[in-house]
Symmetry: C2
Subunit: 315 residues, 2 copies
């Protein structure tokens, strides 16, 4: 039987925005929000609440900033029970620019951090919690963190008002046994406090969906996915696979298939993501995707063997 506690969060616009500097047009954002609403997705994440002090609106699209007016306009008139989410990075947000929940259409703010910055993340969680928001902490690059550091961070998070803490496989390098280990470790600290565990899996080794299932099997209830697997580099767990897997009858696959057909096939002609060998290579080597992203922008984008050789043996 299905677990009613499971929440699906579509981060198509937010993670996909990392490919195109968050320059999605309103009609595309509306199509995604509409499809997710019809499909019964619990949350849609639109972008970052980054500060314009640190990032220029000349370079970045509006989903880097998620101004209240822009968000409202994008969802206007769409009948939906789907909640809205934004993400914030440590040190890239001005807290006093985030308005109280009662004045905002945003429901959930997710704080992304590395394990070393959990203290800072908790401060931000408290701030957003006090303003009335739901919150999560998404601990990135968990595949390179040491167990004592993870446990220390989890112990602190367990004392915070956070709603969920995510296992984030930023490099797409984890296997099922490691997912099992991490989800169980997270639950050990968080479950007694009623804090949920989430999973955000990248697809470098074609394990995004598989690892999401393994996290579910061990008790993760917050599940990130993106339509057609869009996202930086190799992309994410595909929402269409996840919805087909989940047994809760509230989910409907058809609106997602329809938006793939209408919006994502043309988009895929203009933007690159997915199982592309340089991204597979950083995944198997448990490395940040930046080297592969740089390679794909240059003339050697398909020199796979040479790229691998350099990463393994040096120049």
């Amino acid at each position: 039987m299905y677990r009613p506690e499971i929440k699906v969060l579509d981060c198509t616009i937010r993670d996909g925005g990392l490919i195109n500097d968050h320059l999605f047009e309103d009609h595309f954002v509306r199509a995604v929000y509409q499809a997710c609403s019809l499909a019964g997705v619990d949350y849609v994440e639109l972008g970052y609440q980054a500060s314009k002090k640190f990032f220029s609106p000349d370079k970045y699209g509006k989903w880097k900033f998620c101004d209240e007016d822009h968000v409202k306009k994008a969802i206007e008139g769409i009948k939906s029970k789907t909640k809205l989410s934004t993400m914030v990075d440590i040190g890239r947000v001005e807290l006093d620019q985030v308005m109280p929940k009662k004045k905002s259409v945003i429901d959930l703010i997710r704080v992304a951090c590395y394990i070393k910055d959990v203290d800072k993340a908790i401060d931000m969680v408290k701030h957003f919690h006090d303003k009335g928001y739901e919150t999560t902490v998404n601990i990135m690059a968990i595949s390179t963190a040491l167990q004592p550091d993870i446990e220390e961070g989890l112990a602190e998070l367990a004392e915070s008002p956070v709603n969920a803490v995510y296992v984030v496989d930023s490099f797409g390098s984890l296997f099922s046994e490691q997912i099992h280990f991490l989800v169980k470790l997270y639950l050990q600290y968080l479950q007694p406090k009623g804090i949920e565990v989430g999973i955000h899996a990248h697809n470098n080794q074609q394990l995004g969906f598989a690892n999401t299932i393994e996290a579910i099997r061990k008790g993760a209830n917050y599940l990130d996915a993106t339509i057609f697997g869009i996202g930086r580099a190799a992309g994410n767990c595909p929402l269409e696979l996840l919805l087909a897997f989940l047994k809760n009858p509230k989910f409907d696959l058809e609106p997602i298939l329809e938006v793939i057909e209408k919006e994502f096939l043309p988009l895929r002609e203009q933007m690159e993501w997915g199982y592309i060998i340089p991204h597979m290579i950083t995944g198997i080597l448990n490395q940040h995707p930046r080297a592969a992203i740089a390679l794909r922008e240059g003339p050697d984008k398909d020199k796979y063997a040479e790229f691998y050789h350099k990463l393994v043996h040096g120049d």
Copy 2:
């Protein structure tokens, strides 16, 4: 530590041949065999030993038949420890046309069958075994077989001279728990007789690699994969991911990356395989890929929502 018993079988040319009626040119076959040889792959499967009584050489390429002369010519001069394999289908081969092993460069003959034809497969296994070949039985469409039938088949196979019996997820519909169940069930019957278990996973749900790993974890030692995941419809477990995962130092990833770059990128422009939504749809519905393959050949190839609706609700 790695398991030395593990054998990797590359079926790029055989399963890829299902896309193009086995019309691969010699230079491509040589490039694959060369790369697999350098990479330390244990077996390369070139095609079928189908009878020309049933299939016309006017329509099908030579890898549908694998005449000894053609095989010899394709591998001539390539230094290799990699063994050669062919596949046969029940009722599509003339047994007396298969020459004794001592006159052939083929090492392994794999008999593909549905669960109902295990008796016929065993007869063929005995025949090829007596001629001096290694043999496997690949039980297709196992996701639609009933457990008592599987157990009856395994009990019979356990008494045969077969070297390995495969779990074949023809529709790419199985999840990790089902893979665990099947591999354990196979081993229960076969392990006491020294018969190995194999896994051949399709990628309709992006679980080809994940399910291969899960089969390994439960004891499968014969692993099928294809370069760049090539294969009919959604394709197969990608060899490059599998080799990167396996710890045996005899495997080398670089020659595979090189042949992807040189041969498979141009091929992918001419032939279609991989994570394409209609193939995902037949996978989640546990159906043969034929409806999706037909759709992809027609004008409605990207009408995903309609295709899904028809398969679920009828016309």
